[in-house]
Subunit: 257 residues, 2 copies
DNA sequence: AATAAACTGTATATGCAATAAACAGTGTAT
DNA sequence: ATACACTGTTTATTGCATATACAGTTTATT
């Protein structure tokens, strides 16, 4: 039926769109894909993506690893499905709100939220532009938030790429930090405070003429409470939004003048 | 000797700083760390990070996998060393040049270059802020490029985080695209052109009210030659630089006015 | 009703991975 | 001369993804 559509999709993508035909012959299925993905996510959330093995997922459901292959053709496809499932979030952008700056902030925060909630999210390799339904849904959300901007489609997509890319980086680093801390590393291990003393001996002024003074002052490895990682990223986000605003103003001038 | 320094470092980091004591007893070593890291990088460059196994690296040097453990305590440490070695690049910023915008662009390009040259680079998980020597060297480079800016240390580090984070995202996507294409996927597979027809059926206006028209027009999966992935990222970079410029102007006004 | 086809979950097996442990040989310090 | 600290290797363990063959189950066809 939908065969003509799915032809080029990787199997995981086809499944995410529900394009897999099922037949009625044979015994009733005891599992379903959502259940498997959910179980995999539960394990990844608790113990990291490296704990997600076919055996582990199947066992947690009371089945053998091979049973999963009746539903999902490979582990890579399972990862695609996990990634897409993690993107299934409510629209962070208020209906009808046309404050694009605030809307992009909301989108940024929602994206970061995915990384925080699912620290493994960034560990799944990207093998194409987003084409699974919930990934596209997020793009749809943010497109709604910049609907009114006088930009062409390409410009809009570039801006979305800019923000989501920035959020990806920020999200990865934040969740890595969380993970490291949860894994028993002292908070300072990630921020670098634990290394501060060692670095002060190693970052010499001859080899690192510019960095030396920052390390000596302890700025580089500083993590006082007023200035956590998240704050640094919000600083960057505001610079990005300013840059977009500037671009909008320039375009307006071209029209008006 | 240097024992007091390295105490808290992960072994790979300690090795990268050359903090490992060696003794003269026993047979002459037939390998050295640089050689091992070089061999691992050669394999990763050619066949991807997943082809890098201890056995594979050792074999390519004519040794057994276990021999590597006499030099590097674990594969994770080998990855840290590979990551740092990939960052050993010449300073992209011209001596004495004070055009911060151009300098940040150069830094961005050099960073992207690392991802292009070593497509596996982004696949290595970050477990702390950069503390290995070549990673720090890159930070030193870019700090030199914004030396003259009237910003405090924290602000400078935030800006570097902003740019390098953006470059990371851009680099990952670009190298993923390269990889996918090299791996035999048609160029269109990554850009989405191959999926365009299918998506036009799936991205319906009721489920994706904002994205629908873009996909229908083919913009989302468009990859005409005038507009490749790299261009999209340069657009974003200029927005970021504009945003930084705006921040500088605001600071100046505070001083002047 | 009988049977073939298409499916189900499982048991078994393969090959590759990281790495621990035990080993035999090799230099150096005593 | 010999004990020690090291070298690279052999062997073994454990966990992984997944191919293949199986026995049982449901439906479609005869």
């Amino acid at each position: 039926m939908d065969d003509h559509i799915k032809i080029n999709f990787p199997p995981g993508v086809a499944i995410s769109w529900g394009l897999e035909k099922q037949s009625n012959r044979g015994p009733k299925r005891e599992l379903n894909i959502d259940q498997i993905v959910e179980a995999a996510i539960a394990i990844a959330d608790k113990e990291g993506i490296s704990s997600v093995s076919m055996n582990r997922v199947a066992s947690s459901l009371g089945f053998t690893s091979m049973s999963l292959y009746r539903y999902i053709p490979s582990k890579d496809d399972l990862l695609i499905l996990m990634q897409d499932a993690a993107c299934d979030i409510p629209n962070p952008i208020p209906e009808g709100d046309t404050d694009w700056r605030e809307n992009l902030r909301k989108f940024y925060e929602a994206t970061i939220g995915v990384y925080i909630k699912h620290p493994w999210f960034g560990d799944i390799p990207i093998t194409s532009i987003p084409i699974t339904p919930n990934n596209l849904q997020m793009i749809d959300y943010v497109l709604g938030g910049i609907r009114e901007l006088p930009l062409n489609d390409h410009e809009k997509m570039s801006i979305i790429l800019l923000i989501s890319n920035y959020a990806r980086g920020a999200g990865e680093i934040m969740s890595d930090a969380n993970q490291a801390i949860q894994a028993g590393a002292s908070p300072g291990t990630f921020s670098g405070v634990d290394f501060s003393n060692a670095l002060q001996e190693l970052v010499t002024s001859d080899r690192f003429p510019n960095l030396h003074s920052l390390v000596a002052k302890g700025v580089y490895t500083d993590d006082n409470k007023d200035n956590d990682v998240g704050d640094d990223f919000e600083f960057g986000l505001e610079r990005i939004l300013d840059g977009i605003e500037r671009y909008l103003k320039l375009k307006e001038q071209k029209f008006d003048g």
